[in-house]
């Protein structure tokens, strides 16, 4: 199949790849694709030029993006392509005309946004057609699954994961190989594999992009995991806000089943593996693994105390392997290229590359994949192209509502799981929001606390009541009615909620306050003592707080 697809692709001297992931679609990518197709037809070039809707290229704010692959020439990517401009692409590349309109649209090949990245998981995102199995297979897809089924034992697969040094991409960074081995060794009649795609952190969309752009890669990773741990059923839990991702995954599952790559007796082996999609229904806490399992079983998504850990007793009492979607995206690379290849990237303790969603006040926002250990400076100033409007960098927020802010003095620190934790933040799932001097830290902390308050499941007291009280105090600080005593109350609450909460949501909810207090305490004090917001965000109205409690 791979060969026939490659042959088919070779017939075309030129391929035009239009990014069709959610942000580019919002900017009008589908209309552009339509316009390109029409232009090709109008010129009668259907046999020579192919237009393909692909996955994400990365720089989402510059969409719609089109990449032109021309035989014997380096690929050229264009940004901000509109319906009007689309025909010019054809004129330039198919007819060799000079089109000055396109000059400032072409993205230079050495643009640091691309040059500084290392794409392992997103390697094929932007070149494969996410809705065509053939397209994935032509780029070597499902060869890793074939290789494991033919040549490896489950134990060998797990050990390969251990050797690769891959760590969970969901945030906590638990060694993946170790987890797989635990599930493999756990006794149980039926085991399950779950891909966690409930990406609830605001500002993070790595999983969505991966599921939208390269769905087969995730499925293949899950199937390999199923083989390694001895599971025959997989669930992929997709956040409810991602209908496009779910649709593409569903299509991918059906295609793979038809070709015998999923389902019964995969690739004529004795291995059976089914994957079902479960849609989330809007609850951040369901990103927590025990809550996620409750949700898969159709219940209220409230976390359950561990132990027992899911690896021993998870879905319907069976041993369950839960990994992040991005973690599953790494599997095929490790199998085909080998653990040693993979382990060559990254730092001593954190291997490989990590996808970040770069957003906020930087010039280039979008999705990036970088080797772990890169410095924040490289991300913000090289890949991100610096702060918008040339303003000063103030802080970078990583890990969403469970993470913290990293101030400018740590721009040079290499980013990995341990350093981020030491700085009071977490790697998280990979949201990275850059803030300039116009962002007010107590206000940002209040924003995250409001989020945690809304998303607290209400099961345990410290998180349920604590988040409300912390939010109230932050409200007082930002409206100018707080006292220094409130600040010490806030700190006390932070520590208590962090230490006593039932699940990860509560344990990490105080992080945004904690880290901003650590680096920007003077800002809090300015609000309280001087009724002054250094960033000019807070209005000191001293109006009573509006917190609706039904």
């Amino acid at each position: 199949m791979a060969q026939s697809e490659l042959d088919r692709q070779k017939q075309f001297r030129c391929r035009m790849l239009v990014c069709a992931s959610t942000p580019c679609i919002s900017s009008g990518a589908l209309a552009v694709e339509e316009a390109l197709k029409k232009a090709v037809e109008a010129e009668g070039l259907q046999t020579e030029i192919e237009t393909v809707a692909t996955g994400c290229l990365g720089p989402c704010s510059r969409g719609p993006l089109v990449t032109v692959q021309y035989e014997g020439q380096p690929d050229v990517a264009y940004e901000g392509v509109t319906v009007e401009i689309a025909p010019f692409l054809l004129a330039k590349h198919a007819k060799g005309l000079l089109v000055p309109e396109l000059d400032n649209k072409a993205i230079p090949a050495d643009w640091p946004f691309f040059a500084k990245q290392k794409k392992l998981v997103l390697a094929e995102s932007g070149t494969v057609d996410p809705e065509k199995l053939e397209s994935y297979v032509a780029r070597g897809g499902y060869s890793a699954l074939g290789q494991t089924l033919r040549e490896m034992t489950p134990e060998e697969v797990c050990n390969e994961m251990v050797k690769s040094g891959l760590r969970g991409r969901g945030g906590a960074g638990f060694p993946t190989g170790l987890k797989w081995n635990m599930v493999r060794k756990a006794p149980g009649e039926r085991k399950y594999v779950v891909a966690n795609g409930d990406e609830g952190d605001p500002g993070a969309y790595m999983d969505r992009t991966l599921m939208e752009s390269d769905p087969h890669r995730v499925l293949e990773g899950m199937a390999i995991a199923g083989f390694a741990v001895g599971a025959d059923q997989g669930y992929i839990y997709v956040r409810g806000e991602y209908p496009l991702a779910a649709k593409r995954l569903e299509k991918a599952i059906r295609q793979a089943e038809r070709k015998g790559l999923l389902g019964s007796r995969i690739l004529d082996s004795n291995f059976n593996f089914r994957i079902d999609i479960r849609m989330g229904a809007g609850a951040f806490v369901c990103g927590e693994e025990t809550a996620l399992m409750q949700s898969i079983m159709g219940r209220r998504g409230q976390p359950v105390p561990r132990p027992p850990y899911p690896a021993n007793r998870g879905l319907w009492g069976g041993p369950t392997l839960i990994n992040n979607v991005e973690t599953f995206g790494n599997i095929t690379t490790i199998i085909t290229k080998g653990a040693t290849f993979y382990a060559a990237y990254g730092t001593e303790k954190s291997k490989g590359a990590k996808i970040f969603a770069l957003a906020g006040k930087v010039n280039n926002t979008g999705l990036i994949e970088v080797t772990i250990g890169i410095t924040l400076r490289e991300i913000v100033f090289d890949i991100g192209g610096g702060i918008r409007g040339g303003r000063p960098f103030k802080a970078a927020q990583t890990g969403g509502p469970s993470g913290g802010c990293i101030p400018s003095e740590y721009l040079v620190t290499p980013i990995d799981y341990e350093t981020l934790q030491r700085l009071g933040s977490i790697m998280g799932s990979g949201g990275l929001i850059v803030m300039d001097d116009q962002s007010c830290m107590p206000d940002v902390a209040k924003f995250f606390m409001e989020f945690c308050m809304d998303e607290s499941c209400g099961k345990c007291g410290p998180c349920r009541g604590g988040t409300v009280q912390m939010h109230r105090i932050l409200g007082k600080i930002t409206n100018g009615s707080a006292t220094m005593e409130d600040l010490s109350k806030l700190e006390e609450l932070c520590i208590m909620v962090k230490e006593t909460s039932l699940c990860g949501l509560g344990m990490t909810a105080p992080n945004p306050i904690y880290s901003t207090l650590r680096y920007f305490r003077d800002e809090y004090e300015a609000h309280i003592r001087d009724h002054h917001c250094p960033a000019g965000v807070c209005q000191f109205t001293e109006k009573p707080l509006r917190i609706a409690v039904a």
């Binding site: 959610t22 942000p23 409810g240 479960r278 159709g298 929001i433």
Partner: protein, 189 residues
Amino acid sequence: MPEASPKKDAGNGKPAADPRYKGIDRVLKRQQYKQDALIEVLTAAQEAFGYLPEEVMIYIARQLKLPFSWVYGVATFYHFFSLKPQGKHNAIVCLGTACYVGRANEIVDAISKEFNVDPGQTTPDGELTLTTTRCLGCCGLAPVVVFENQVLGKESPDTTVDKIRSVLSGAAPAATGATRVEQEEPLPA
């Protein structure tokens, strides 16, 4: 008032002729009436009715043989489900981090003031529902508003209010290069 008397509807509580139950029945069958499928079934109901009317939840509870309070508890746990009818038009303002840093809350305030509707509420005439959401994953386009199923990027309070006003007053939606999310791809055969 939920009289909740099982005798009242000795059948299965389904109004005979309401075609909207078909979608629910299809999912029920596909999931083989498994209790674990409650969320899938509720999702189908929400899509068919636009919200979860009480009699629909009672119907689902009967079909899955679950206690009423269980179904109600699950339905109110997840934000996706609404127990109140939604407005004819729905404006969703993203309040993810990037949008928040991009002052999306000012957009919420502007809509709220202009159309006299609080976030999460529907105008009394049932025309407009204003909702906020946590990150649509279009952070590169922040601040983002979804209106009439169109994702609108790089919005400001004024542009959003203008667009909503023009739609509510019956004028054609102001297209700004945005594409309908729904029609993005034909369903696979």
